[in-house]
Symmetry: C2
Subunit: 338 residues, 2 copies
């Protein structure tokens, strides 16, 4: 493998001069620069970033740790991260935790060993251990999508509470009084915040706690299916469902279809997260949509700033707005029809 020394010899300069040309650092005379560049081309020299990173303590690598890249919400987020990082000359390592804290720990350990410059973390749980470990280690982190209570950190997330509040208000406005919430794990902030928004809307509408129905599961389709079945078995049976993410929404729809119920005629169904237009043949669901690409973008920018200037500014929390898109699945006013 050819090294900086081979290039230096061929160009008749010192190795450090080659280094300076490659990294565009310091001033080099046009003459020597050209000789170096010629030698690089001739030898097909490929700089070894392992060695340079070891010496300079910068890897120009970020990591994105998330639950499941298979979910379009996270795919878009990942794309936002990658585009932004790439523009700044960084590459990105992706890690899927599948919402497992053990996987998360394992990956974070590996990433620290690889000395990534910074980490974008969608925490598997509200447990602060992982984040504390990273902060203790000194690796810059930005938390994405979710909060971790009682810990100071840079965070970029959406307003889950407000999104759920709006969705629930919409259903209330359509005359529904029996509204059930199908959500993810209790100790994931998005899950908890969406429940909170749901409860606030019902409380404001004067519906007491015993008229509030919350089902906890996880963020996958199978769970949505099961929770919807539970909701159908409840007495009194709800007339509307709020699903805490896209996969839960689809799972719930399947359960309703199997039960022979029409949406929205027999049961209204709304949910969090929209699907990209390029994936949907028949847009149907009323949703609270989150700007996932922008979230990845903003998080990466924040992280890159931190790298430039560690501890230059206090921790920041960026909260992006959710937007409700009304389609068919929420139905039209029931009171007036009946």
């Amino acid at each position: 493998m050819t090294t900086i020394y081979d290039v230096a010899r061929k160009a008749g300069v010192a190795p450090i001069t080659v280094s300076r040309v490659i990294n565009q650092t310091g001033y080099i005379s046009a003459d020597k620069r050209q000789r170096v560049e010629a030698a690089v081309a001739e030898l097909g020299y490929v700089p070894n970033r392992l060695a340079s990173s070891l010496r300079s303590r910068r890897t120009h690598t970020l990591a994105l740790v998330l639950s499941d890249i298979t979910n379009p919400f996270f795919t878009n987020l990942a794309r936002g991260v990658e585009d932004t990082a790439s523009d700044a000359g960084f590459t990105v390592i992706f890690c899927n935790t599948d919402e497992s804290e053990a996987e998360e720990q394992k990956y974070l350990g590996v990433l620290l060993q690889k000395r990534v410059d910074g980490i974008l973390l969608v925490p598997a749980r509200s447990n602060p251990d992982s984040l504390r470990m990273l902060q203790h280690n000194g690796t810059p982190v930005v938390v994405l999508d979710r909060r971790i209570p009682h810990v100071q950190a840079d965070v970029v997330r959406c307003d889950s509470e407000d999104g759920a509040y709006q969705l629930t208000r919409l259903l209330l406005g359509l005359g529904h009084r029996g509204i059930a919430m199908l959500t993810g794990p209790k100790n994931v902030s998005t899950s908890a915040d969406r429940v909170a928004g749901y409860r606030r809307a019902l409380n404001e509408a004067g519906l007491a706690k015993r008229q509030q129905m919350v089902f906890y599961g996880d963020f996958r389709q199978a769970s949505g299916y099961q929770m919807a079945q539970q909701a159908l078995a409840a007495q009194p049976r709800p007339t509307a469902l709020v699903a805490a993410n896209n996969f839960i929404t689809i799972g719930a729809l399947k359960a309703l279809q199997e039960a022979g119920l029409r949406v929205p005629e027999d049961m209204a169904l709304v949910g969090f997260d929209d699907l990209p237009p390029a994936m949907v043949a028949f847009p149907f669901f009323t949703v609270a949509t989150q700007p996932s690409y922008e979230m990845g973008q903003a998080g990466t920018r924040l992280l890159l700033e931190r790298l430039e200037n560690p501890a230059a500014r206090p921790f920041q929390e960026i909260i992006l707005p959710t937007e409700v898109i009304v389609r068919q699945s929420s139905g039209v006013a029931k009171l007036h029809l009946s």
Copy 2:
């Protein structure tokens, strides 16, 4: 930052012994192993893989270079890669080329500098330059999803020709004679192979070349939309469309809807690539589906084998089968109805 020397001093052993404990290489007495592990824990030592990779010439990192992770086909493929790599102790760097050869070149250059152990490449074009460059450099590569003509390499892909053949046969069997193909770029093998399968089916049915209609675009929704409009303007107007991927299919559907045409009554529509069940409210499209997760899995296994044992076996080409799933969008027999 604490190093292997700090650990060695604290444990009263030589640095190399620490190295052996950490990497589980060679035999170490239980006594020393425990002392080392205690020292590691006490100091919170995190091995520097930059240094170890520099020395050992292995980074335990793979790269996946693909066109767009936002497409569920590639997302699943990526997940197959990540799961397999992770199980083997490798991390994965993802790169989106957006089908641009320039982006591809740029990324490959960076990856070589980072000394990734191997590369999984979905080539942007059939152009062999990138692959040749990697092979010349000596970095193991596995080509995924697409062929690169006239170059020897490990390849894992699906049988695009056969999938398109089957889809077209299905339409022929339903009585269609005016069948148009909406495909991607001419110089991407999946695009070309699907055209070939389409033509073979039509040829076998005795439909001459002038009765074959092929529209070339790219693999995105907007392109599908435009190609469908062109197909609608053709004389005679086709009665069925074959789309070369999922995004083209959706784009085509939108164009048909805008033109006031019903699918499948006024126009049959079939395509390549299914969407994951968790994303689809109403399964509608008749498709040729590819096992994308398995493709990522198989490709990664092949690559890992190569790393273990460079040049131990000849290049391999694994061709996975496509499967046709019949749903509504292809319609039922027209001849019998009319």
